[in-house]
Every structure is written in structure tokens, then in C-alpha cells.
Symmetry: C2
Subunit: 411 residues, 2 copies
């Protein structure tokens, strides 16, 4: 059985959600557990209740609604993503994967389609990790990767705890934040956030896994001297050592693999005054690759470069690991379902490894999992310029819908 | 005629001032026009009034007191420095040059010494330039290098204007902030803030001039993409371009001169998130050298490196000049007076070019000028570890005192 979503309604629902926290420049500013997040959650609840579904909110604010199946012994197929956004992010990242499922549920009702397995829609709390860390927090708690009390205690920049905010917006639910049932499968549609689909002229991506990543931070301790009378050979400049390593992190991926990436996203210098030699500089590293061994090698090389830079500049240093997440391979059953859906619908697809983490990462520990990727123009995301055409949104949503139907009807 | 200051009283006065805004670690936190600055100004006024001197405060808060000379037609010799400090700076930077003069005035009274020329003590407003920019602001206004209304309007980080703060602490005086008389000479004692005196085993420095400097800032504009799925060859990373230039600024001085220094003291990255490729990075440059042509060449090279880094990384960029101050040569007459004083007192001295700017920079446009340098151990300054032994403080103060007496008795 194949379905086609109502394209006009699908686009209109996408636009509707994009107004909640929408920015002047056509982006989205809907930080986890903010007033805007509450507004979109209220709106989402209303849409589900209009379909006659009960909305279940767990103790971490994750939201679920289940459409019954015909087979009482069949485990549910979960589909969804997240409705929170990056600060001044795009309107597709996360939302596309939730709205597509909402539209699927509407279409199933419209067409009176029943499935053997229940279909469960999910909106995960705080996937983005920009207001509270880490990213993929709600799915991580739910899947047992994080301790809920530790995550409750996480604070934003203003020192407000996540738990306080959950309570304030009324989304700290009564259901335990953990699986109450076995699950048949988990599917998630997301924008690619990279350029590979567009570069290869594809309509949709069949995601076979997610790269691992390693995040850490290095701090150099130099000496804060006056920038005028201190001769160059007396200096212990923490920023020069940091700059040395930053240029190396640009280079390291090119020596390791064609999917390896390395980034320094954050830097903080003290005292940060034009007239004082920097005393203390902290900066982060982030490496990703489908192959965990390559990531390990990248980190080894950074630490080697960091030591060399420290000796060269005569500064002390230390480092800390911040995250170390192994790459995951999706289940063949789910990948095949996505591939078949794309093929049957006549979409030109390619197999792709996700360069970013997703809630699906955590779901692989719960049940069979795969993802569908939508084309990201220019590979842009996490900013207001993020763009996916409605045609590409629709193609990926139909692929998701039919892959889910396939899994929900499987024996 | 030669004088020797009272060493015990001199040290005790140095310690007394160091308690006003003193820090736990033995440093000084006495930012311009802060409550601590008001307190030290009040204390300073009291000391001068106890000597029977009238304290004159000008419209920019610069403080003067004049001890009469015997020759009614002789122009005053001005001596002094500044009582404000860096944030968590040292107790010598500035204060040593004011306290030495206070002790000289006391000694002249004690010993009943009269001079032909009046001797005028000065405490300049905001030499440090850390709370309000630029540095050497009070002397710059007074000498006509800056417009007073523009400088009044400068604000600190909290948005408070300099004029408001002058009024709040009661140090916006009635006297115009400009020379009311001709001056015979200006002398200033300051800690070297560099290692040359100590390296060469000298007691005091005879300062022959001040290096010029050029400050500017470069901003790179890249693209803020997700650090995971964006392949390395798609990136326009503003921080990588900045790091490239920072490493070059470490190298450029070594290709230009033995007194050339180059520093990046400030860097700011946006959005500064571990998971986002930096979109916009601003950093500063600062170059100093006794030779203005070398400074010009250093700036040319930085801009060339900046363009190369921009092309390499595919980012846009712009730059701005922030300060461009020519080097100055002190007057032979004043340099000779300092040299003779050091020689007569039996101090081992060396001629030295100042690596930092001082109020004396601006005074060269008003009258003959020179400076005395005190040994800075390890060349440290602008932090709490700044240190000059009492013996070295005393040697430099006696040198200043006798050089001033020499000039004040000259025909």
C-alpha cells in the first residue's frame, strides 16, 4: 500500500509551524523550553487532539501520540523528530520531520487506512542542545543514555535549570521518560544539513548510519604582559599557541578521510585586551567521521599538535574531552524500507551517512532505526538561510510516510 | 646640588598608596574615575595640602600642584605620572612616578631647598586606557592631541560616560584642560615594563624616546554552517583565517627589527558555539618599534597576510585602523639631565627606548621631555606580579629628583 500526502496541506502546515517563533528573515528562533517552544507544543497538541489522539507527555517533556493498529500484539512504529530550533536557525531543521508525520496521520484518517502496527508520532525535547547541553537530550534520556536527574539540573546561560523551565511551560509530564513498550522500528526524516544530495542531483537520501564525533577543549596558560615593552622572545602567548592548533585542525581532516571534518567553533581569550598579551585561551575541537578509528586518530593528532604548539610558545596546557559518540549503522530492515519507498515513488535516491547527530542516534539502542534525508540547498543549516524547496520537502515526506507504512504493515 | 630622598618614608608612602585599591594578591585595582581612583585622589590632595600647596584640578580631572621658584620669570618644571591602574595591575605602574615627586617636594621642604624654577607635580587622568579609551587620555587632552568634548563622551563597558564619572567623583575641575603657562621641562619616572634593564644588570634607565605604535582590527566574514555535515571544502571558516594571520603576527617582528613587537591581544568569534563553523571573527593587531617605517612595513605585511588568508579560506574581510602614534625622541637637554643625575649618584645606567607609551609622549609637544625607568623584574607589568625592588624604586626616584633639580636650577 502506498500513500501520497496532500501537498497543499503539507506545505501550509509547514508554514503554520514556521510562524511560531519565526524571525524577520524567514528563519526560526524557537529555543528548547522557551515561550516559543511552549507555543509550538500547544499548537502541536491541538493538531493531534483534532485527530482524536491522546497526547502523552513524559517527565522530560518528550511528546508522543499513538494511532492504534489492527493487530493487538504488534509493536508500534515510532516516527518523529523535534520542534525546537537553533538560535536564529531555519524552519526545516527538526520541524520537517514532525510535520511530515502529522500529515501522514491526517492522510491515513482521510483515506481510512488502517495499519497492523500502531504508529506513534514523537516530538523530542531539546534536540538542538544550544540552550541546554547536550544535544539530542530528550531522546538520550528516554533511551537511557543519560540520567534524568543530571539532565534536569542542566542550566542555560541565565542559570535557569531545565527542570524549572519544563515546569514553567507546563511540559513536565507524568509518564516516565523511558520506553513503556517494545518498538517495531523508529524512522526520522531530517534535512541533510550537508550538500551531498544536491551535489549528486538526488531527490531524497536513504540514510545508512550516523557519523561518530569527538568534542573536546584545550586551554593554554601563558603570561599576561604589556604588549609594548615585552620583547618577542619573552612572551608566552596563549593565543598564538591556540592559533597554531586551529590552523592544524583545518588541515588534519584532509590527511585522514574523505568524510572527516574538524572544526574549532569556540574560542575565549583572557584578558582579551588589545594591549595585553593573552594569558589564557580556551578553544574547542570537534571531529566527525563514519569510522570511529579515524576520529580517534584525529584526536591523537590534535593533542600532538597542541603539545608541539605549547612547547614552541612556552605555555602550559590542559585538555578535556567533552563528548565521544561512536558512529552508528542503521538496521538493514529499516534502510530497506526507506529505499523501497523512494524507489516505488520514483524518487532518485542515494545512500548516505549522516554527518550530524540526530535523535535517531539514541533510538538505535531501542529498536531498528533508519532515516530519510531531504535535500539541503548549499548544505546550509543552523542559520536562517537554511533552505529546502517544497518539492524536496514533499518528496522526503512521502518517502518517510511510505517507509513507515511498510514497516507498520510488516508481519 | 644633589638630594637624597628619605628612603624609609619613600617606601612607606609607596605602601600607603598601594592600600587604596590594593588587591588580595598584592596588586592594585584602581581603574580611572572609579571609587578607588577618587580615594587615592583625595589622599593625594591631602598630602599636597599638608605641604601648604594648592591643588589645581582641570576640567579633565588632571591634578597639579606648584611649588614656587625663586625666579619669577622662570617657567615651571613639571614632574609626575598617573595614579590610576590596570584592572588587577601592579602597585608601581604610574604610582611610583607620582610618589617620587611627592617625596621630592617633602625633601625639598625638609632641607629648605629652593629652586629657581617652580616645580609642579602632576597626576594625569586615565593613563591606562582600560576603562575608557584611549590610554594617556588626560595628558592627551591637556597637550591638545584630543578634543575634550569627544573624550568626555567616551563610555565604559556599562555605558557610563567619562564626564559623568568625573562629576560623580568630584574631579571635574574649573581650570581649562590645557597649558596655562610655558613649561621649562617635563620629566616622568615609570617602571620599564620590559626586561632590558634587568637583563643588562642596570640600576636605572635613561629614556631617550618612546616607540611608535599602530593598532588595528581585522574582521573576517565566513559562513555559519553546522560543523558536522558540512564538508571541509564547503567551509568558509572565519576563525581559521584569523588563526592564519595570528600565527603570522607572531612571525613578522622577527623579520623586521630587534625591537619590533607584534601582538594579537583581542579576539571575538561569532556565534562561538562548539557545533557551528565560525561566521564572524574580529581580532586586533598591535605593532611597536622605535622606527616608524618598520611599523608601517609591519602593517603592510599584516594586510597582505590577511588578504592571503581570506582568499585561502574564501571569506570576506575588512580592517580598520585604531591608533597610529609616531615614535618620539626626547630632548637632549632632559636626557642629559637624567644621565648626569644617574652618573652623579653612582647608579649604573643605560640608555633605553621605551617600548610602551606614556604621558610623556604627549608632553613632547609641549616642552622638553625625558623619562627615568626603574627596573621591572622579569619585565612584568599590567598584572599583579609586577615587581620592582625598593632599592630599584629608590634609585630611580633619586635619579628623577636630581634630574628635576638640575633642570629647575638651570638658567
Amino acid at each position: 500500500m502506498r500513500v501520497q500526502l496532500d501537498k497543499e496541506r503539507f506545505v501550509s502546515t509547514m508554514k503554520e509551524q514556521a510562524e511560531i517563533g519565526g524571525t524577520e528573515n524567514g528563519g526560526l528562533h524557537r529555543l528548547a523550553l522557551s515561550d516559543e517552544d511552549k507555543a509550538v507544543r500547544d499548537w502541536f497538541t491541538e493538531q493531534l487532539e483534532q485527530l482524536g489522539l491522546d497526547v502523552r507527555v513524559d517527565a522530560f517533556g518528550n511528546m508522543f501520540a499513538r494511532r492504534s493498529g489492527t493487530d493487538p500484539s504488534a509493536d508500534p512504529v515510532m516516527i518523529g523528530s523535534h520542534l525546537d530550533s537553533q538560535p536564529y536557525g531555519g524552519i526545516y531543521d527538526g520541524a520537517l520531520g514532525v510535520i511530515s508525520v502529522l500529515e501522514l496521520l491526517r492522510t491515513l484518517d482521510d483515506e481510512g487506512i488502517e495499519t497492523a502496527h500502531p504508529i506513534e508520532i514523537v516530538n523530542w525535547t531539546n534536540e538542538e542542545g544550544s540552550r541546554f547541553q547536550p544535544a539530542m537530550q530528550g531522546s538520550g534520556v528516554w533511551a537511557g543514555a543519560h540520567d534524568i536527574e543530571e539532565e534536569y539540573a542542566k542550566t542555560d546561560e541565565d542559570g535557569t535549570s531545565l527542570e524549572e523551565e519544563l515546569e514553567r511551560i507546563g511540559y513536565k509530564g507524568d509518564v516516565p521518560a523511558e520506553p513503556q513498550d517494545d518498538y517495531e522500528a523508529y524512522l526520522e526524516l531530517h534535512v541533510e544539513q550537508g550538500p551531498y544530495l544536491e551535489e549528486n542531483g538526488k531527490d531524497v537520501g536513504v540514510v545508512t548510519g550516523i557519523v561518530g564525533f569527538n568534542w573536546g577543549a584545550i586551554t593554554y596558560y601563558g603570561e599576561a604582559d604589556h604588549s609594548g615593552p615585552t620583547p618577542m622572545h619573552y612572551r608566552k602567548d596563549a593565543l598564538v599557541a591556540a592559533a597554531d592548533v586551529i590552523t592544524q585542525i583545518r588541515r588534519i581532516p584532509s590527511t585522514l578521510g574523505d568524510r572527516t571534518v574538524g572544526t574549532v567553533g569556540y574560542i575565549d581569550a583572557k584578558p582579551n585586551s588589545i594591549n595585553i598579551i593573552p594569558e589564557e585561551v580556551t578553544f574547542t575541537w570537534g571531529f566527525r567521521d563514519p569510522n570511529d578509528e579515524i576520529i580517534e586518530e584525529a584526536v591523537d593528532r590534535v593533542l600532538m599538535e597542541a603539545e608541539t604548539a605549547a612547547e614552541r610558545e612556552g605555555v602550559d596546557w590542559e585538555w578535556e574531552q567533552r563528548m565521544d559518540v561512536s558512529s552508528v549503522d542503521f538496521s538493514e530492515k529499516c534502510v530497506d524500507a526507506v529505499q523501497s519507498a523512494a524507489d516505488d515513488l520514483g524518487y532518485d535516491s542515494m545512500r548516505i551517512f549522516s554527518g550530524a547527530g540526530h535523535d535517531a542516534t539514541h533510538m538505535t539502542s531501542v529498536c531498528d532505526t533508519s532515516m530519510v534525508f531531504a535535500v539541503s540547498e548549499d548544505g546550509k543549516s543552523h542559520n536562517e538561510a537554511e533552505y529546502t524547496s517544497w518539492d524536496d520537502c514533499y518528496a522526503s515526506a512521502n518517502t518517510l510516510a511510505n517507509a513507515a507504512l511498510d514497516l507498520a504493515d510488516s508481519a
